[in-house]
């Protein structure tokens, strides 16, 4: 379905919604087109191509917001959407007011960032690159048995919102990613696996040599890995692992969980919550980010802000509803998750320090480097901040990266880790996160509990 047809349907739906008895209402339309290939054993083993779309409706009645969604856009859907949304309004008794919004000065919002380079994403270009990459990975080291996962994917899509207050908001984006995961056999017969990714929006900007060098470091670096003794270790959390770790607890920085008693950061804006060398900023239009976000999904313009400023919790992220409850202004962080709206981050940046990764290890002296954390969906308590996670990495011996370690867990508390950051590196990487990306370097933490095999 083309966007113009969707737009006409949405205008009709919003008009019908007002006639149906909603005080205000809004329709949103998300479309996604994607293409991907998988490479296995010298062949394109799989090719996928898709076009999907979802239409969501929400209507306000007696202070309650009812939601409904479908992907069928015809007249019969209008009745279904309005009736279901009204039924949902009627069962709700949410005490907090909800909003359908339009800024009088910014009624028509438009931001397109689909690049010309997207046209280069073809079956041919992906398969040629994929086959070349698989071959190059296998040639990195004789111990690499197979590249079990090699996937190249791209997607793009528009997102349109129309509401009864006059908002007409259009945003679109595109992107591509490359992931490769391989398996190698160690000298003792044990199997090691490792993977690496790349994200971008121009296939020609993919630097294969750089990718391969890091890939080798990740996988071959694990050869000879074994457990280590339990104890408290000075810990360097490598950038990739720190990104996963920080984001696993990020809901604590959102206003709604705070207001619902699900975050220990509630009412603590202005307090010291982290080491004074730790700053996290949100920059929706960050120049190095692939996706730029000038306005959120409620029609509010986004702004730059510090979330943690030199250790001080500067601000939570608010949408219209949580901001109203807190007596503040929305920070432009209301984004759609499924059909409903809640707070989410755009581009996050951990302010880099001036030490390289090697210098962080040198500062640690003796300790451990964590490169991979597993089980983040289960092995932590997002509210209390407690975690116990399977991890991999290296020992730090005499200020240098030493032998690889595996089959260990790291345990501690998120809030204690924030305060225990002793140094921040300058080895920034970026990973997709929330609506945008998260840019972070590695950090050095004064002490974390490692459980391992005491016989090692």
């Amino acid at each position: 379905m083309d966007i113009k047809t969707a737009e006409r349907f949405m205008e009709k739906l919003v008009k019908a919604g007002m006639e149906y008895g909603f005080e205000e209402c809004e329709a949103s339309f998300a479309q996604n087109g994607s293409m991907s290939i998988d490479i296995l054993k010298g062949e394109v083993s799989s090719y996928e191509n898709s076009a999907t779309s979802t239409l969501s409706f929400r209507g306000l009645k007696n202070g309650q917001m009812g939601y409904c969604s479908t992907n069928i856009l015809d007249d019969s859907s209008i009745d279904f959407l309005l009736k279901s949304a009204m039924e949902n309004c009627e069962v709700m008794n949410d005490k907090d007011p909800q909003f359908i919004y339009c800024d009088e000065n910014n009624k028509d919002l438009y931001f397109s960032q689909i690049t010309d380079a997207y046209a280069k994403n073809t079956y041919k270009s992906f398969s040629e690159l994929g086959l070349k990459l698989e071959k190059a990975i296998l040639a990195l080291d004789s111990r690499i048995d197979a590249v079990d996962n090699l996937s190249i994917a791209c997607s793009r899509g528009p997102f349109l919102i129309i509401n009864s207050k006059g908002l007409h908001s259009y945003r679109d984006t595109d992107g591509m990613s490359i992931y490769a995961g391989a398996r190698a056999t160690d000298s003792d017969g044990s199997v090691k696996t490792g993977g690496h990714y790349w994200i971008g929006n121009d296939i020609d900007s993919f630097d294969m040599d750089k990718f391969l060098a890091r890939f080798k470091e990740i996988l071959i670096g694990k050869m000879g890995a074994k457990s280590c003794k339990s104890g408290q270790y000075k810990t360097v959390i490598k950038s990739e692992a720190f990104q996963q770790f920080f984001m696993a607890f990020f809901s604590n920085f959102l206003a709604t969980p705070m207001q619902r008693g699900l975050s220990l950061l509630a009412d603590r804006e202005g307090e010291v919550i982290a080491s004074d060398i730790f700053t996290v900023r949100e920059e929706p239009m960050y120049d190095k980010a692939l996706t730029k976000i000038p306005f959120d999904d409620e029609g509010v313009l986004t702004t730059d802000k510090a979330i943690i400023d030199k250790g001080v919790f500067a601000t939570a992220l608010y949408d219209l509803r949580s901001a109203y409850k807190a007596g503040k202004k929305s920070t432009g962080n209301g984004f759609r998750g499924g059909s409903s709206v809640s707070e989410g981050p755009t581009n996050l940046i951990v302010e880099p320090g001036n030490k390289s990764f090697d210098e962080l290890c040198q500062e640690a002296g003796e300790g451990i480097i964590l490169t991979d954390l597993s089980g983040l969906h289960a092995g932590l308590n997002a509210i209390s901040g407690d975690f116990s996670l399977l991890c991999e990495g290296y020992l730090i011996e005499n200020g240098k990266q030493g032998r690889p370690v595996e089959q260990i867990t790291v345990a501690g508390n998120f809030y204690e880790v924030l305060k225990a950051i002793e140094a921040v590196g300058n080895d920034i990487i970026n990973l997709p996160s929330g609506e945008g990306e998260f840019f972070t370097p590695s950090v050095l933490v004064s002490s974390l509990a490692i459980s391992g095999d005491d016989e090692e």
Partner: protein, 461 residues
């Protein structure tokens, strides 16, 4: 759903080049859910989605195209693109379509889709009202009730023509206890393929009380120790350890590309002789059941391990081609936006002979895990982890103080061999499993078992 002539046109278009097999998967899913927080209804939603996936195979080369637009012209265009991308040697045949076979794997008295949301809210409110008045330490209670009805039609070039309908209900109650700056939660989350009568009969007050008690005990508990020790995993959701440490490594997704530590192990001893295990998709009304899989095959009750000996892998069509065997009726996908692959259904360690009390009494020192969280596994290396939500130390054969914050880690292939006692109290529990074909409802299960040695990753030395 499509008529037969439309499907025939799609199959013909898909087979116009060098595919040896083509399949059309069409799905319609209705969903409704309500969510309460501290007695307030903060969420009520309804959804209706449909879409179509077209898969082509030529040997082990696969092409998958899908769309949420069910317009025949759109799908014919996608089928044409797919046909252009498939890499086979010769044009395959299309067999005559068999008569439609409609199935469902549950006895449903009250269709959950017909239940008014106000009734769903009233049910959850009982839980909220109880929890908020139970103990001053309980500061939050969240409840959710979600129903789906999914009809999936599969038609392929071998004449397969099936339509399977599954209705599922998932209830969740999460309570949070707060003490000083500490918050801990307790949770119950049953799921069923039975009708809404399951909810009407569910002992919601007793179960909410259990969740409250867990949260209160855990907010008062100290941290778990860090050490290798014997671990007893209680029945029910403890089965997630088998799901992670063994189940995923038996799926053709891993075995078919030799990326599993159980490659070429059929007929070999892979577990201790007290362990037998099944993957049974045919249990009436169970959360992970289905009558027909997402490739149109009849579901099965598969013996995976018998007295420690590996008997079967879980194999889908593509896996069967790679492994030179037959599919076992275990192909599943979250929805039409995923190609199907081998997945678990209701997977459990079978009932053993030990009395659970004797298992505890026979353990001088160890960890007794009564409530487990989720986990994950690397099927190539065997590295697995899973989280423990509620646990107790065992001292001198007796259950001692509660502890929290532990994760169990190990190598799947080693853990199975270290199971030295299996109880007689088999129980199943609902969960969601995420893998290459998306999130699917699964049941895990086991009787109480003891693992003689496992690394407990806690915070206390």
């Amino acid at each position: 759903m499509f008529n037969d002539s439309d499907v025939q046109r799609i199959l013909e278009q898909a087979m116009s080049t060098t595919a040896d097999f083509a399949e059309v998967f069409q799905e319609v899913t209705e969903s409704k859910s309500v969510g309460l927080l501290n007695g307030e209804v903060i969420r009520a939603s309804t959804g209706f989605d449909s879409g179509t996936g077209i898969r082509l195979l030529a040997g082990t080369n696969s092409v998958y195209v899908y769309s949420s637009d069910n317009d025949i012209e759109v799908l014919l265009k996608l089928a044409k693109e797919a046909a252009a991308a498939i890499k086979g040697n010769e044009k395959g045949k299309i067999e005559a379509l068999k008569e439609l076979c409609s199935t469902t794997k549950a006895t449903v008295q009250i269709d959950p889709m017909t239940v008014a949301k106000s009734d769903m809210v009233d049910f959850l409110r009982k839980s909220s009202d109880f929890a908020l008045n139970y103990d001053p330490l309980i500061t939050q209670v969240a409840g959710g009730l979600a129903s789906t009805c999914r009809t999936a039609r599969v038609i392929n070039t071998r004449g397969v023509n099936t339509e399977d309908t599954t209705r599922r209900i998932r209830l969740s109650v999460e309570t949070i206890a707060t003490k000083d700056n500490e918050k801990q939660s307790g949770r119950v989350a049953p799921g069923t393929m039975r009708g809404y009568e399951f909810i009407n009969e569910y002992p919601i007050i007793d179960k909410t009380k259990e969740a409250c008690d867990t949260a209160i005990r855990m907010v008062n508990a100290g941290y778990a120790p860090s050490a290798k020790m014997p671990v007893i995993l209680c029945n029910g959701f403890g089965g997630v350890i088998f799901h992670e440490a063994c189940g995923h490594a038996l799926e053709a997704t891993a075995v078919g590309i030799k990326a599993s530590y159980f490659n070429d192990k059929l007929g070999e001893q892979i577990a201790s002789s007290v362990v037998s295990a099944r993957d049974n998709a045919r249990i009436d009304g169970e959360w992970g059941s289905y009558a027909t899989d997402d490739e149109g095959n009849t579901s099965s009750d598969l013996l995976l391990i018998e007295n420690g000996i590996l008997k079967n892998y879980l194999v889908d069509e593509l896996g069967a081609r790679r492994m030179n065997c037959k599919p076992t009726g275990c192909a599943r996908r979250q929805d039409y936006s995923y190609a199907p692959t081998s997945r678990m259904s209701n997977t459990y360690i079978c009932k053993g002979e030990s009395d659970p009390k004797d298992i505890i009494a026979a353990t001088e020192y160890g960890l007794y895990c009564t409530n487990m969280g989720g986990g994950s596994v690397d099927t190539s290396t065997g590295d697995f982890n899973f989280a423990v939500n509620e646990a107790y130390m065992i001292r001198n054969g007796k259950i001692a103080e509660p502890v929290r914050g532990a994760t169990l880690i190990g190598k799947g292939q080693e853990i199975l061999k270290n199971i030295d006692m299996v109880g007689n109290d088999l129980e199943l529990a609902a969960g969601m499993c995420g893998s290459v074909s998306g999130g699917v409802p699964v049941t895990v299960g086991q009787p109480t078992i003891r693992v003689s040695s496992i690394l407990v990753g806690g915070r206390e030395s």
